[in-house]
């Protein structure tokens, strides 16, 4: 029977000798994080992504909404809730909400954690600190990563969870200490509550845990127990989310098939990748290279070859390879129309190009690994200098012209459309004239208007206002609505389709209009 002793305690996860270099990695990452946030903040692009604003609004509505009282339902059922929950401690402070920091802080902390974990993953694989530093720097100095970590988007939190899953699984199989497996499971739980991509990685790792146990010649019941434990811990998030969808929206799969979740909302029938596997493959490859930069992508591929040849798919090497499974997953998602992704080379525009940034995690590990393959210490150091030089060059190249940061270019281009101009005009009008009172406006598609007008979420009756939305839409005056904002583009919102031309608007004056928006104000 097992008894707890110091040297073979399966629960103790601290390594015998603490590697203090990881603290330096975390410190440098923290400095880079603050510096890049400041840089992009000064450029005014922290909230360039409309989705970033939506994330902030969701978090804010959880605390401040017209329904009052219990408002966890405001978390909705499409986007997973953890990023919003983590920003709750900051989002109630107006300046932090409106400048975006309430969401960015989550990404920034996640960036530091991911950097440290990548360092540890590579050191654990290679035993070389320098290789760990190279791997971490590939991630830390990537301009797309630096931009995304400055925004309230959810990618960085996903990266941290993915790195946590991989590190935990890798250390578990190496040390046979189940504490790491629990840690990997908890990272999986957090990841599965952050972005749906983590569900895929979690499923892959669940299978790999079994394969790793089998390859390590664990007895059958141990493999069964560990696989089930891992699956249960992460599975809590998935089943919990389905239960949430069932309770709030009446369908456990509402996040996939609900009114605001259908892939058809984003993926048109004319998508180039739809039904064309080779185009889908090329699209995702281009997106990946755009995010990583070609020389880095090439080094990663060389690293992958070295990794497979050297490690021979050993149990210890499998968790890192699991990160690569997201590549075929995305290709399939584009092919099957589950996800839209546009690159300029194929579609002539950019859309969701940041999906390609996911490959920065395996690239960082594989390049770190590659630097360790040179047997002579001097060669390793030289290789590391060259790789770091590449990474720095990429950073400088993009810093000189931010349009080279593809993840930034996409929302900046989107902001430059006539619709965005119309939206900003409507916001500007409201900002000048709004002095309080309830605003009836659908949120979907109009996120910018409310946010840029500086109107608190508590004053907005929208499609998620429990038991208030339908009555307000049917009879605005009866719900004390003072402002009505409607979008009348070729994709009009529900307020427009319901109220346009209706006598319910008799009590309101058309105060503002442009090519996209009408703003009505209650008559005195």
């Amino acid at each position: 029977m097992a008894t707890a002793t110091l040297d073979r305690d399966p629960m103790v996860i601290s390594p015998p000798q603490r590697d203090k270099t990881v603290r330096w990695v975390a410190l440098v990452a923290s400095l880079l994080s603050v510096a890049s946030f400041t840089y992009f903040f000064q450029k005014g692009v922290i909230l360039a992504y409309k989705d970033g604003i939506s994330h902030l609004e969701i978090a804010s509505r959880t605390l401040n909404n017209p329904s009052g009282g219990m408002s966890f339902a405001q978390l909705g059922g499409v986007w997973l809730p953890l990023p919003h929950l983590l920003s709750l401690p900051f989002v109630w402070i107006d300046p932090l909400y409106f400048n975006g920091f309430a969401g960015s802080i989550v990404s920034m902390v996640a960036y530091v954690i991911t950097s440290a974990l990548l360092y540890k993953i590579v050191v654990d694989l290679t035993g070389h600190k320098l290789a760990g530093i190279v791997g971490a720097l590939v991630f830390m100095l990537n301009p797309n990563v630096l931009y995304m970590q400055s925004t309230p988007m959810t990618e960085l939190l996903l990266f941290a969870c993915m790195a946590g899953m991989v590190y935990g699984a890798q250390r578990w199989i190496k040390t046979d200490r189940f504490g790491y497996l629990i840690g990997a499971g908890l990272a999986g739980l957090a990841g599965c509550l952050t972005r749906y991509e983590a569900w895929v990685l979690f499923a892959v790792l669940t299978v790999l845990i079994g394969i790793m146990g089998w390859r390590s010649k664990f007895e059958g019941r141990k493999i069964e127990g560990t696989v089930i434990a891992f699956a249960i811990i992460g599975g809590i998030a998935i089943s919990g989310w389905m239960l949430w969808n069932l309770i709030i929206f009446g369908n456990p799969l509402s996040f996939q098939v609900g009114e605001y979740a259908k892939p058809s909302l984003w993926v048109g029938s004319g998508e180039p990748s739809l039904g064309h596997p080779l185009v889908a493959l090329r699209t995702y490859t281009i997106a990946t290279v755009s995010n990583l930069w070609l020389p880095i992508a090439v080094l990663a591929v060389i690293g992958l070859i070295g990794y497979i040849v050297r490690e021979r798919l050993s149990a210890h090497s499998l968790p890192v390879l699991s990160l690569l499974t997201l590549f075929p997953f995305f290709v399939f998602a584009l092919y099957s129309g589950q996800r839209p992704l546009h690159v300029e080379q194929i579609s002539g525009d950019l859309y969701n190009v940041r999906f390609g940034l996911l490959m920065v995690l395996p690239a960082a590990v594989l390049i770190g690994y590659l630097s360790s393959l040179l047997t002579s210490r001097i060669y390793t150091q030289m290789a590391s200098v060259v790789i770091i030089g590449f990474v720095v060059m990429f950073g400088l190249w993009t810093a000189t012209d931010t349009s080279n940061v593809v993840t930034l270019k996409e929302p900046v281009v989107a902001l430059d459309t006539s619709y965005s101009t119309d939206s900003s005009e409507a916001s500007a009008y409201l900002k000048e004239h709004y002095e309080g009172g309830l605003v009836l406006m659908e949120s979907f598609g109009n996120e910018l208007v409310l946010f840029e007008a500086g109107i608190p979420t508590g004053a907005n009756l929208y499609e998620g206002s429990y038991q208030l939305w339908e009555p307000a839409l049917a009879h605005p005056a009866g719900s004390d609505i003072q402002w009505i904002v409607m979008r009348h583009t070729d994709q009009p919102d529900e307020v427009y389709t319901t109220l346009d031309g209706s006598p319910e608007l008799d009590g309101y004056t058309l105060a503002f209009q442009n090519n996209s928006y009408y703003v009505f104000e209650e008559k005195p």
Binding site: V12, G69, K222, G225
Partner: protein, 512 residues
């Protein structure tokens, strides 16, 4: 031994269920709640929700801290190695073994205790039997017991004496045994116990490490060996790991008060006598039988009460890295009875140590006192509260989905926004942590086959809450207030004894 707080409050037994002060406090509290409910229904319910969530928060925080502390124990210092059996300075030891209706497993017990590595001439084993248990008595008398085993018979209670006045059971037997113990150290073992053979040597080593002389008790870890008999044993087993490996180890690490397990606790005998109850707390034993009142015969978890007493008198309890294997019951009915005894005993103990809260807290130390009572009173109370909150959650969503908005809005009113978020966080994080502890326990002690059963945890929690509510009824009725639900053991032990016998025979034949 150094003299620790000799002027401490005298120990009080659980014979008096509620002191006058407690009765007045309870009555005033209930009156205030009733008046509040009549006059300010929502406000009063909100206050009750606030109090219960604060209580939940404290329990959760304590358990999380204990878990982290238990990991530090394992990560920091190596376990004390056992002494050599040839050490000439080994002190005398007494093993107190209370038995009641255990005739069937007596042979296995004798075998297991014979395996203890300790000089026989320094180890006194007292089999503490009850006069009315003629079967076990007869079995013990016809057995060829080793020389260092003695049979002590606790006198029966004359018919017609009220049960209330004459408590019976394990603590009474222990008190009688303590009066006859000759060992410098004493240990308790139950009938089905299988202690690690070197446990006594480890315990003495731990006592020797104690330079200040404040350690009065070391507790070995209890672990069930029949984990995979049924789903009940799997949960029992996992809970024991959580209790002993995480909670008790954490309490000991933080120098708080670990409530002792019923067996495998090793004491300095002198301390047990020093902190004994005044004889006036208990009725005289029939026939003028001698007893030293180290344990509260009215308390159905006399072991937990003793832990509080040791702390009150300034003594410490340590956990040693040694295991005693026990048999978990595989039957729900028996498990329910055992659970009721534990919860009832915890309530009794908590009520005893909150009779004079200020003085007791000052004597024990406020943090120790608070944490000890949080566990004693908090464990049963949290089990009673859980179904209420589960019910509220289900009712909220059902009424909301079904369109009975009056219902869901009424529930909403009880939870102003900050309280609501706190409540949801406690509900989700608390239940998740408890669940994770169970899964961790399975992996920690290689109970891989039990991991999947942990998915049934909600049903297990409902079961334990059911037991907790039954305790309330037992305590309310004078007749059942001190009822000791005896846990039946032995089926698996018997099978194993037979196997061992067969193996011995086979080996003998092979040798021949």
């Amino acid at each position: 031994m150094s003299g620790h707080r000799n002027k401490a409050l005298p120990r009080r037994s659980a014979r008096v269920f509620l002191s006058t002060g407690q009765k007045i406090t309870l009555a005033l509290g209930l009156f205030a709640v009733l008046v509040g409910l009549v006059l300010f229904t929502t406000g009063t319910l909100q206050v009750l929700v606030d109090i219960s969530l604060t209580f939940y928060g404290c329990i959760m925080l304590l358990k999380a801290v204990l878990f982290v502390a238990s990991l530090q124990v394992r990560g920091s210092s190596p376990a004390t190695p056992p002494l050599s059996i040839n050490d000439p300075d080994l002190p005398t030891y007494t093993a107190l073994v209370p038995l009641y209706r255990e005739a069937q497993i007596l042979p296995a017990l004798v075998y297991n205790l014979s395996q203890l590595q300790y000089p026989k001439h320094r180890l006194q084993v007292l089999l503490l039997l009850e006069e009315d248990d003629t079967e076990t008595l007869l079995e013990a008398q016809i057995m060829d017991l080793p020389d260092n085993f003695e049979i002590i018979v606790a006198p029966g209670i004359p018919q017609g004496q009220a049960r209330m006045n004459q408590p019976k059971g394990k603590p009474r037997a222990l008190n009688i045994g303590l009066a006859r113990a000759t060992g410098v150290f004493s240990v308790i073992y139950d009938a089905e116990d299988r202690p690690d053979p070197d446990q006594l040597l480890k315990a003495v080593a731990e006592f020797r490490k104690d330079q200040k002389g404040t350690v009065a008790c070391v507790q070995a870890r209890l672990q069930f060996w029949n984990e995979d008999t049924s789903w009940v044993t799997r949960f029992y087993w996992a809970e024991y790991v959580v209790h002993f490996v995480y909670n008790l180890a954490g309490l000991a690490k933080l120098n708080l008060v670990p409530p002792l397990g019923g067996t495998s606790n090793h004491f300095r005998t002198e301390v047990l006598r020093k902190i004994a109850f005044p004889q006036s707390e208990f009725p005289a034993l029939p026939g003028g039988t001698d007893a030293a009142y180290g344990w509260d015969s009215y308390n159905v978890t006399e072991d937990a009460e003793l832990a509080g007493a040791l702390a009150m008198y300034g003594y410490d309890i340590k956990i040693i890295d040694s295991v005693t294997y026990e048999e978990a019951t595989s039957r729900v009915r028996v498990a329910d009875g055992q659970r009721r005894r534990w919860l009832k005993g915890y309530l009794q103990t908590g009520l005893v140590y909150t009779r004079q809260p200020v003085r007791t807290a000052r004597q024990m130390g406020p943090v120790k006192w608070f944490c000890f009572n949080l566990l004693m009173l908090g464990t049963p109370f949290s089990l009673m509260l859980n179904p209420i909150y589960w019910g509220l959650t289900i009712a909220y969503f059902v009424t909301r989905v079904a369109g009975y908005t009056d219902g869901s809005q009424a529930i909403e009113q009880l939870f102003p926004t900050p309280v609501f978020y706190t409540g949801v966080a406690l509900l989700l994080v608390g239940n998740l942590l408890l669940f994770l502890q169970l899964v961790t326990a399975c992996l920690d002690r290689e109970g891989y086959g039990s991991v999947k059963y942990m998915l049934l945890a909600p049903f297990w929690w409902i079961f334990t809450s059911w037991s907790a509510y039954r305790v309330l009824f037992e305590l309310a009725r004078r007749k059942t207030r001190y009822t000791w639900h005896k846990t039946e053991h032995g089926h698996d032990i018997l099978k194993e004894s037979e196997v061992r016998l067969e193996t011995t025979r086979k080996n003998t034949l092979d040798t021949v």
